[in-house]
Symmetry: C2
């Protein structure tokens, strides 16, 4: 039988002590959990800061989200933002509000995922806050990273003629989510129905439940001495992120539909759902791939990395944001990112 310890048995300090096992990996973590603040030695580098909220029933549904995966993902979405600046994530604070529906063991599952992600990405948990909530589970993580000033990549420096690159593949997370929503519906209608989660679609489900940030790509760019002009991570869908880069850089773009990387499993699943795979890639979101623009002289280095696709080119601002379809027609790109409200 699984043990259930009530949070009230431990109290706030007991809980913090039990959950914060301490995982200091960096010598620049001067002080971690246990004082009014954590202390970091950033030396001569610049400090990068990003924060994200994960709210139950808004950002995740616990009926199909394992708690360990949730903790893992909560770290990854923040780490991804640090990579999107071409930085190195080093530290996070973790704040969690939970109702008494959750046991201490449930919280430990979330933290197991958090610490696993921290191990994989080389991050120290340096602080946080744990409190009760009248309803549901809310996780707020702030990630702190570092970068040399001349290596930081913003969204606003894309140049006309730049090649537009994207890592990995797009749309898979969205299709994974559609499978989970369908299976939940099936389960609600008939709890004895066997869920249709097969070996083929397990990849799609992993993409939504346990995404990874693109650490290796950032390392590759560094090794190859490629500094993107503009970069962003794809959390809301390709269209929405292209719009951010183009509007902040005051440029246009032309994307070739046939170059947008879509995994075969995702393509097949889209067909089964009667969805257009390209629309899933453009508007699906939650892929946590990187979108960046580079000087065309870097083309040779980029095409050697199988994890990067060149999907288009940066154009003049007056050309707008365009997609050239497989059939050779040109359409306006529309952002249909994820709407929280």
């Amino acid at each position: 039988m699984t043990k259930r310890t009530e949070i009230s048995e431990l109290g706030e300090f007991g809980l913090i002590q039990r959950l914060s096992q301490g995982n200091t990996q960096h010598s620049d973590t001067i002080k971690s959990i246990g004082d009014d603040c954590a202390v970091i030695d950033t030396k001569l580098l610049k400090t990068l800061v990003t924060t994200d909220f994960l709210v139950e029933d808004i950002h995740f549904d616990l009926s199909y989200t394992p708690l360990k995966h949730l903790g893992y993902k909560a770290v990854v979405v923040n780490v991804s933002d640090i990579y999107a600046m071409n930085g190195t994530p080093k530290h996070i604070t973790v704040s969690i509000a939970v109702s008494n529906r959750f046991s201490v063991e449930a919280l430990e599952e979330i933290y197991a995922g958090i610490y696993l992600a921290c191990e994989n990405y080389g991050i120290d948990v340096i602080g946080g806050d744990t409190t009760s909530s009248p309803k549901g589970l809310i996780i707020s993580i702030t990630a702190i990273g570092e970068a040399a000033e001349d290596k930081i990549v913003y969204r606003n420096q894309a140049k006309e003629g730049d090649l537009i690159c994207v890592t990995g593949n797009l749309g898979a997370a969205y299709l994974g989510l559609q499978i989970l929503i369908r299976e939940k519906q099936v389960y609600l209608e008939d709890p004895y129905m066997k869920p249709e989660i097969t070996e083929e679609n397990s990849y799609l489900i992993e993409r939504i439940l346990k995404p990874e940030a693109k650490k290796k790509i950032i390392e590759y760019l560094k090794t190859e001495n490629i500094l993107p002009h503009a970069m962003i991570d794809i959390s809301d869908g390709l269209s929405s992120e292209l719009m951010h880069i183009c509007s902040q850089s005051k440029v246009g773009c032309l994307i070739e539909e046939k170059e947008i990387p879509i995994d075969q499993t995702a393509y097949d699943q889209a067909m089964k759902f009667n969805l257009d795979p390209t629309v899933c890639a453009l508007s699906g979101g939650e892929d946590y791939e990187l979108l960046f623009t580079i000087d065309p002289k870097e083309r040779e280095k980029i095409i050697q990395n199988e994890g990067i696709s060149i999907i288009g080119v940066i154009t003049k601002p007056e050309d707008g944001l365009k997609l050239e379809s497989r059939g050779g027609n040109t359409f306006d790109l529309k952002a249909q990112g994820w709407v929280s409200f």
Copy 2:
């Protein structure tokens, strides 16, 4: 008539644009809101990081908390943690989750309080996240500050013989809260009853609804070249904070009841409620005063500042944590800090 704009009319990006007016005051804020991360130049100083959750119906009750005060307080509680390390607060990220019960104007009220606190304490808002919540209002703020390494004051360096100092006065916030709870009860029982919030108790209510952090004390210590050995801010009550310092520093303490600073209004109000004013000071919490220990040779400088009281002395660890009462008896100090769960 007050205008009510639905959050859904603006959407997430529109909302962020409307709320993030931008308030960059520091040249070290290289990049604020509008990219994947904010970028800070910490130069040769160390970075201090702290975070706090404020959850509706756990940490505040909107039936008697004005939204602007709430925003103000959410900043102050974090700033107070930076001062408690003897640091200078410089930057915050602000994440807010709200249900659709809140209008855009309500969110603007919260932000008005946030920006007012930022103005008063010299802080730049550099990022955040705004999302919907299925129920209630949740604010998560992370504050980032800086300090020279040799000026940072931890909790674990109190020495035997140190004088124990406390700023301002204690117990007032707790008594203010008791008044608000009583008035809410009166209102719920009879909405036509006039609330008994008088000029005398308005100070107590201000202490709970709109606390201030001890910026001037930190400046005084710096001017007078006093470096405390240990310091903490009093958020959970004096007893609880003394326990943190003593257990982390492996020392004992002896507090004199008659030296604990209690405002006359707080004293009178405690009497009206049949409460012991000393117990309110020891266990009340939410005062956001500073508790610190100093070398006895600094006594002359400390007593010149009316905002600081010397309330006792650090003793040997085997002496334990003691309170000497007005009557000359000695009692064990017990922590009865605020219990969230």
